[in-house]
């Protein structure tokens, strides 16, 4: 175990997988000479050279499509989106090609690629740069979608994503790059995709949250513990496929559920979790599932507006109190 930042854990995962498997290469904007816009690829150009750490012209659709092609013939590209908001420019390649090639070729060509980079709200990145992009991807059959919330998850899940034979969307968070945690040094340490994690055990209510919202939910749980409300906080980690077993198991135990998400709400993760909790555990519920989401408006640029738009600890506490009638 070593204590390291989330950023370093990602860097470690990339380095180890590149050492382990010569088919793995990195491609994206500013990832080489500049060490990555967020320094996730620091030092990798130096270590692995230009063939395996490829700085591209500014053409998201182009380099994503190129990666699809390379993956079809057995390479394992890891594409960096400078931010996931720019993956929108590559959406056709991701949705119509990466996700469908295996299906449409009748299983002849699989696309073992990872598309990674930061997404979600950060600090004053405004409307075009702050979107919780996972919602655009987890609807698409054929794509796996991962949102790692801690440094060990960052390492373990990224390594699994790279080893996975399917296209994996791996969305990090700018606000988490600097957080520290204990990360296993073992180069064979991986975390399987599709496994949720109970971050805090509790008995009265299950709170589902990931990324920045996980930390806010944990703070809310801490505060509510003082008031005698015991929250179980569950981090889905992989949004597609989702670990329904662990998540429903928790709700069966607590009988209440609150979903927290940073995005704009409607048709978001909260809707989906609320739906399958209702489908699978309706008779176990003591209250309707509550969603705490961002306002259904584009992300404002001003700091105070940004704060007002994003779910606060207070809003999370209020929702938990509502379902618990506490």
């Amino acid at each position: 175990m070593s204590v390291m930042t989330y950023r370093e854990a990602l860097n470690m995962a990339l380095r180890e997988e590149m050492q382990r498997d010569p088919r793995v290469f990195l491609i994206g904007e500013e990832i080489g000479v500049y060490d990555g816009a967020y320094k996730v690829t620091q030092g990798l150009l130096k270590e692995f050279g230009e063939r395996r750490v490829v700085d591209t012209p500014i053409c998201e659709s182009g380099f994503t499509g190129l990666a699809v092609g390379a993956a079809m013939v057995g390479l394992r590209p890891v594409v960096e989106m400078m931010t996931f908001n720019f993956a929108i420019l590559a959406l056709d390649q991701i949705v119509n090609s990466a996700a469908k090639m295996y299906y449409m070729s009748g299983g002849q060509y699989n696309v073992p690629m990872v598309i990674r980079g930061p997404g979600g709200p950060a600090h004053q990145l405004a409307a075009q740069h702050s979107q919780s992009m996972e919602v655009y991807f987890y609807h698409v059959p054929g794509l796996k979608v991962v949102r790692p919330s801690t440094p060990p998850d960052a390492k373990g899940l990224l390594k699994s994503a790279i080893r996975d034979d399917n296209p994996v969307i791996f969305i990090e968070a700018e606000t988490l790059y600097g957080i520290k945690g204990e990360v296993p040094d073992d180069p064979e340490f991986t975390i399987p995709l599709g496994k949720a994690e109970i971050r805090r055990e509790g008995t009265d209510v299950t709170v589902f949250a990931y990324m920045g919202m996980l930390y806010r939910a944990l703070e809310a749980a801490e505060e509510l513990a003082k008031a005698g409300v015991s929250c179980e906080v569950v981090d889905p980690r992989t949004l597609r496929p989702m670990d329904i077993e662990t998540m429903i198991g928790s709700v069966r135990k607590t009988h209440r559920a609150v979903v927290v998400e940073a995005g704009a709400g409607f048709a978001g993760m909260g809707s989906e979790i609320a739906a399958f909790v209702t489908e699978n555990a309706f008779d176990d519920l003591d209250a309707p599932v509550e969603r705490v989401t961002g306002a259904n408006a584009p992300m404002p640029y001003a700091k105070n507006l940004e704060q007002a738009k994003t779910p606060s600890k207070e809003k999370i506490i209020a929702a938990i109190r509502r379902v618990c009638h506490a």
Partner: protein
């Protein structure tokens, strides 16, 4: 090219197709102050002074904004230092009724188009109104995704052609933007439809840390226009007179229904990419020094000096104007959080009105929506039979 057959003996030899291309490079006033008087545009002393003032305002505001950003008073932005001539020389040729479509590094051009200094500051401090063009302005707001504005610009030009309006569109973008699909798609449309547009590429040699030679293997960016069937010209982008001359010609062509033009302004970003960047990581001081020698402002001020057109005390006057705008900007109250729900839709739908009301209530109470004193809502009717709830209903 080796094709593995003997060309001399081929029955159907390759025939060169006309036209083979050449790209023109235009320079009128070089960095040593040499002037080609045969090409010197006929600009009135008043216009020359106004252009210089606009470049200087762009430069001084840029420097002030870097300081404001360092002090945390505005957010990240993209400085223009070094690119003033490319912007003013081109935008000057537009009429107010023409369209100006910026990317994210066109502060000088925006000022020329009538964006108040205060508004530009407000934009980078996060106020929505900072990005709101005046109702009589024909400008699009700043956009961040590289090259997305170019198809829009073609759309504006298409609409002008469609309606028969006497309108020309000028669209700005960088060298890096020429790698995006949107650039090529926009150029192709513009050529096919023959719309009244001028593409102004500010080739400042760098796209963050990526130098031009890693962006394209083309000898020039201007030549890309030829593939789409319209003229492209490369100009010394630090030479105000050359940029002006090329732009005027392009705008006139567009206005006369003769279609699009691509102008590549060869210039240099003397400062950081954005205030979040450290260029020492990827380029040398010598390179920057070399380009400082070609500074568009010193070159043009020397030209004006020779013609006895340099106004005295211009700099303090401009600084005072900037200082006054900074002062009004700083006196502004924090943005109203409720404005986040404005302009999401033309008519706010009920779900947004409800969220707005909820936020208003929360802000009024200065805390969470439901205070502890409030009664819990009645327990919802339960279909389940289980009676394990620890919370009394």
């Amino acid at each position: 090219m080796a094709l593995g057959y003997n060309r001399d003996k081929a029955a159907m030899p390759r025939t060169p197709l006309e036209p083979r291309f050449t790209i023109e490079y235009l320079s009128i006033l070089d960095s040593d102050g040499n002037l080609d008087t045969t090409l010197e545009p006929q600009l009135s002393p008043g216009d020359l002074k106004r252009m210089y003032r606009a470049m200087l305002l762009g430069r001084r505001l840029d420097e002030r904004m870097v300081r404001l950003q360092r002090q945390g008073r505005i957010g990240t932005f993209a400085p223009i230092k070094g690119q003033e001539a490319s912007q003013i020389g081109s935008v000057f040729t537009l009429r107010p009724t023409d369209w100006m479509v910026p990317s994210f590094r066109e502060t000088a051009a925006m000022l020329w188009r009538g964006w108040p200094i205060e508004k530009i500051l407000l934009f980078f401090a996060g106020y929505l109104e900072g990005g709101q063009p005046g109702s009589d302005q024909h400008d699009l707001p700043i956009t961040i995704p590289v090259a997305t504005q170019l198809p829009h610009a073609v759309g504006l030009a298409y609409a002008a052609q469609y309606r028969g309006d006497d309108v020309v569109v000028m669209a700005y973008f960088g060298d890096g933007a020429t790698s995006e699909g949107d650039f090529h798609e926009a150029m192709n449309f513009a050529g096919v439809w023959h719309v009244p547009i001028v593409f102004v590429c500010q080739n400042n040699q760098w796209a963050i840390s990526v130098p031009l030679k890693k962006q394209t293997h083309s000898r020039t960016l201007a030549q890309k226009a030829l593939a789409y069937g319209f003229p492209g010209i490369q100009v010394d982008g630090n030479d105000l007179l050359a940029v002006y001359a090329a732009s005027r010609e392009a705008v006139e062509r567009a206005r006369a229904g003769e279609g699009p033009t691509l102008i590549e302004c060869v210039t240099y970003r003397l400062g950081v990419h954005t205030t979040a960047d450290d260029p020492t990581k990827y380029r040398s001081d010598e390179e920057v020094k070399e380009w400082e020698r070609k500074d568009p402002l010193t070159r043009f001020s020397a030209y004006l000096q020779k013609r006895n057109l340099l106004e005295e005390a211009l700099e303090p006057q401009i600084d005072a104007e900037i200082a006054a705008a900074v002062k009004t900007f700083e006196a502004r109250e924090a943005a109203d959080p409720l404005t986040m729900f404005d302009h999401v839709f033309g008519e706010p739908p009920s779900h947004l009105l409800a969220q707005r009301a909820e936020l208003a209530e929360r802000l009024e109470k200065g805390g969470p929506r439901r205070s502890d004193e409030e009664q819990p809502p009645p327990s919802p009717p339960m279909r389940g039979q289980r009676k394990t709830s620890r919370w009394p209903s």
